[in-house]
Every structure is written in structure tokens, then in C-alpha cells.
């Protein structure tokens, strides 16, 4: 009887070993959120913004602010539209001596009156030109453009400040099925303490995103 029990015991042990040889398994899920999206937009620079040649205020205590404004009636995407919130009805050409701020006082001729800045120290000498960016937007969907201006350190140190016109830093576009040209202006502030300078005054970084 003892031997029989012994054999039974061996058989049981063998069965246990056999169990351990069986594969063990566990399962986890794989998940995804799959969405149809508008195809990505592409931006490419066609031309840079140029303020041309502008004057340094003759009085060291003064500041000249030069605007490159863009007319929002332009069939191209124009931006910034009505720089700084002012109604600047300059068809096609949105820059002129009329768009000059001297010491914070706005001087322009949009009232139909005569333009008579207090002095001639702030002026565009050579014509400026807009920047132009090609916006490749294959989806017929609204999107927004956002600009961030980075000032050139050397120019800023020299009393020259390049800025995105404040409230126009974001432009909403209702639709764009194909390709559009974006016209870009800007704002340049020159201190009376500035010294003659030629070169970059800053960089626009423009980001496009579907709304």
C-alpha cells in the first residue's frame, strides 16, 4: 500500500510540472483616435519686408514710427490690415509719410485735411516694400495666421525697434482653397539717438493653422 501511494505521488508531481510548461499569456488593447484632417498648409517667403531708407529724427529726444500698412481692400491677403487699428485708406500702397507717428502723436491725412507734420525729420526717403508670402492652403477651410516679431539685437541696441502692429498680429481667413499671397507690413520705430544703420531690423515668424 505504501508503494502505491508513492506512485500516485509521483504522478501528481509530474502533472504539476506539466502545468508549468504550458504557456501563460496576457492581453492588452491597442487604441487610436483616427480623424480626417485638412491637408497641411505650406508657407514660403516670396519677398522680405523692406522699410527702404528712413530718417533718424533730428532731435535726440524724438521718435519716428514708420508703418507699412496694408489696404484690406486688396484682393490679396493683406496683413496687417489697418495697422494699429487706424483706418488707413491707402489703396494698394499703404505706406507714406502720412503714416508716421512722432513722439506718440499720429499724423496722417485720412481725414481729408492737409498733412502737416510738425517738422520734416521723419520721412521715407527711399520707397519701402512689403513682404510677400505664398500660402499654400489646399483645403477650403478657415484658418488663422499669427505673426511673432523678433527684433534684431544690433538694431534694437541702436535705437531701432521692429514690431508687429499690435492688434493685427492674428489674421483670420475665412477660406483658402488653393494658394493665396499674403502681403506683410510692419512697424519700425527709430529713436533720435539712433546712428546710421543698414541691415536687418528683425524677423517675422508666421504660423498658419486651421481654425
Amino acid at each position: 500500500m505504501d508503494r502505491k501511494f508513492s506512485y500516485i505521488g509521483l504522478a501528481a508531481a509530474a502533472a504539476l510540472i506539466g502545468q508549468q510548461a504550458l504557456a501563460q499569456s496576457a492581453t492588452v488593447d491597442a487604441s487610436a483616435n483616427v480623424v480626417a484632417t485638412a491637408p497641411p498648409m505650406g508657407l514660403s517667403t516670396l519677398s522680405n519686408v523692406s522699410f527702404g531708407t528712413v530718417t533718424i529724427p533730428s532731435d535726440a529726444s524724438e521718435f519716428c514710427t514708420y508703418f507699412l500698412t496694408v489696404d484690406d481692400t486688396d484682393p490679396a491677403l493683406s496683413w496687417p490690415v489697418n495697422a494699429n487699428g487706424f483706418n488707413v485708406p491707402h489703396p494698394q500702397v499703404g505706406f507714406s509719410e502720412a503714416d508716421v507717428i512722432i513722439n506718440g502723436a499720429w499724423y496722417n491725412d485720412n481725414s481729408g485735411g492737409s498733412y502737416d507734420p510738425p517738422h520734416e525729420s521723419c520721412a521715407f526717403i527711399d520707397p519701402p516694400s512689403y513682404g510677400e508670402i505664398d500660402v499654400d492652403c489646399p483645403a477650403d477651410a478657415p484658418f488663422s495666421l499669427t505673426a511673432t516679431a523678433t527684433q534684431d539685437g544690433g538694431a534694437l541696441y541702436n535705437g531701432i525697434s521692429f514690431q508687429v502692429p499690435g492688434q493685427d498680429a492674428v489674421l483670420s481667413v475665412s477660406s483658402c482653397d488653393g494658394s493665396r499671397n499674403l502681403i506683410v507690413g510692419g512697424r519700425l520705430e527709430v529713436a533720435g539717438t539712433a546712428t546710421p544703420y543698414t541691415g536687418s531690423v528683425g524677423t517675422y515668424t508666421i504660423e498658419a493653422i486651421y481654425d
Binding site: 492581453t27 488593447d29 487610436a32 483616435n33 483616427v34 480626417a36 491637408p39
Partner: protein, 179 residues
């Protein structure tokens, strides 16, 4: 009657002798019982695989890979994008006998909606931080008796996939056994 009694008596004697003889012809043999006692393998799914949010292409095919190490690789046109969300590889914890050879296998089941297919990427499995390799691997259980197994996944998306879908696209099963 007296003769009959005698015969029965002799038979009884014969039977008794037979019983006495049987033990004298028995033989014995010993067998050795051996066993290898090992820690039972226990697998726990620690984390699901997630692709995050993916773009459905308008044309062509997008192949989205989540690698076993948790990276993301895509192939296809410009419309193929990992848009948002967490990208996570699958994670398993395997309790096993320290240093014992274990064979691991990851098995993929597709349940993605029409137009998309869930499958194994190349080199879908990584064990204990070693470089990702095939779906079937044999490796020694970690010295601490607990091996970590990670698995990647591939989601192939075509333009016919639903324009918006959130949910399970498949399962990954890990099987393990001692070599």
C-alpha cells in the same frame, strides 16, 4: 464422506503452499523521480498601446508605427501625421524564475474599422530594455525574477477609413513559457 473430507483437506494445503511461494519470486526495481521546480510564469498587462490622434489621408496610405521603445515612426505622404495625444507602447510584466530561459511571443489581433489595419511593426517586441527584435524571442528571465516586455504596433490607414473614429483597433497578446 471420509474420502471427500480428505480431498478438501489436501486442496487447502495446496492453496496455502501456493501463497507461500508467490512472495519468493517477486522482484523489485527502483525508479528515480526528478523534477525541476520553477516559479510559475505570471504575466500581467501593465499598459495598453495608444497611437494618439492620427490623420486619415485623402490619398495614398499612411503607416503609423509605435515602436516597442515608445517612439513613433510614420511613412506616407505629407498628410500622414501624428496629430496629438499620448503615444504609448504596450507594457507587460512577467514574473518568472530568475535567469531561466523563457520564450516570449506577441500575437496581434486586428479589430480596426474598415480602411485601417492593426498589425505588428517590424521588431515589435523589446524585453528588459534590450533592443527591439522579432515577435518570437527567447531570453533569460531577469535576475530579479521580473521581466518587462514592451510591444509596439502598426496602424495602416487608408482614405476609406472613417473620418472620425476613437476606440480599440486591436489587441496584443503576450505568451510566455519556459524554454
Amino acid at each position: 464422506m471420509g474420502g471427500g473430507t480428505l480431498i478438501r483437506g489436501l486442496m487447502s494445503v495446496g492453496a496455502a503452499m501456493l501463497l507461500l511461494v508467490m512472495p519468493s519470486v517477486a522482484s523489485e526495481a527502483d525508479v528515480t523521480a526528478s523534477a525541476e521546480l520553477v516559479t510559475p510564469i505570471d504575466i500581467v498587462g501593465e499598459g495598453d498601446l495608444s497611437f494618439g490622434t492620427l490623420a486619415v489621408p485623402r490619398s495614398g496610405t499612411c503607416v503609423y508605427d509605435v515602436t516597442a521603445m515608445g517612439g513613433s515612426v510614420l511613412s506616407g505622404g505629407a498628410e500622414c501625421q501624428f496629430l496629438a495625444g499620448q503615444i504609448l507602447q504596450a507594457e507587460f510584466s512577467v514574473a518568472c524564475e530568475a535567469d531561466a530561459l523563457v520564450t516570449y511571443e506577441v500575437i496581434y489581433t486586428n479589430s480596426a474599422p474598415s480602411g485601417a489595419t492593426f498589425s505588428a511593426p517590424s521588431n515589435p517586441m523589446a524585453i528588459d530594455g534590450f533592443a527591439a527584435s522579432g515577435a518570437l524571442q527567447t531570453r533569460a528571465c531577469d535576475a530579479d525574477g521580473l521581466s518587462d516586455v514592451n510591444a509596439g504596433g502598426r496602424l495602416t490607414v487608408t482614405p476609406s477609413a472613417p473620418s472620425s473614429f476613437t476606440g480599440q483597433v486591436g489587441t496584443i497578446r503576450l505568451e510566455a513559457q519556459y524554454e
